[in-house]
Symmetry: C2
């Protein structure tokens, strides 16, 4: 069944961590909505390979409209977590126990939303201490699935495993 996937994205995202999962989600018939501060804006990947047009402003969407949250990595999550609207949006998915898929620096948004206490996670090497300090159980593995709800991976090399487990969870 087609699911509605919200993607939180701004400049300096890790190109492949956006492109490859989104392509796989769309191929399975899921509907993807890219959300940032400003609808219609172009955002660029940090490798400067990809430009993406923002579908919706965070002000015009509600978490209730979506089944799944996807947070690509790069520096995008750190920029977004300085804005309380994105933190609240991510927190709502975690509290509703909807599927949340976060790769690389993606879990930074979940740290700021204070949602990782006791959860099994992984993430990019630079945020490992932050994840442990947030009370999460850190695993240095290509993909970690927690309570059949939260899927996390470390880096671009893990994308295949990340997509496979994400698609399994999305159902």
């Amino acid at each position: 069944m087609s699911k509605k996937i919200a993607v939180l994205l701004t400049n300096d995202f890790e190109d492949s961590e956006y492109v490859e999962p989104v392509q796989a989600f769309k191929e399975k018939g899921h509907e993807v909505t890219i959300i940032e501060m400003e609808k219609g804006k172009n955002v660029k990947g940090k490798q400067e390979k990809i430009e993406v047009v923002i579908d919706e402003s965070i002000d015009d969407v509600s978490h209730g409209e979506f089944d799944v949250l996807f947070i690509p990595g790069g520096f995008s999550p750190d920029i977004l977590r300085a804005d309380e609207r994105f933190v609240r949006f991510a927190k709502a998915f975690m509290e509703a126990k909807k599927p949340v898929l976060a790769i690389c620096h993606g879990p930074q948004l979940l740290i700021t939303a204070k949602t990782l206490e006791g959860r099994d996670v992984t993430g990019y090497k630079s945020i490992h201490v932050d994840l442990e300090n947030a009370g999460a159980n850190l695993h240095d593995k290509e993909v970690v699935v927690c309570q059949n709800q939260l899927v996390t991976s470390r880096q671009p090399e893990d994308i295949q495993a990340f997509v496979q487990e994400s698609l399994r969870i999305i159902g």
Copy 2:
């Protein structure tokens, strides 16, 4: 008296947070050494205003050669803290109680070095929860001086206060 200041810097540093403090330090007669992975490499600020040539490789320096550590912000500290050599270097200054000056995302290196428990700090908004989770006492102020040793600030707008307190601590 002239002091030897080590600066940890790589690509995507916040341009003004490097340029303005370093200029002020040099004007007071202090000696500044820019350290990254590779000596002679050019690194660029995230605003693309500034390029800096690296003076020394992290492999060729010891913390004992320097009196002070300065960590500019932007995404540079997050890149550096994925490399254990920079984490150890920063940790050595904190353990030796030498002056450490960190602005914006600079304190991320000190989090990964596990040196902020019980310390008074500030930092860029996006890392506030990380600082609290690291056991630091977070203050939302333009500059925080802890035990006359650790100087932290939040963002480019705080540079003047950051430089003033940094110069006072350096002596």
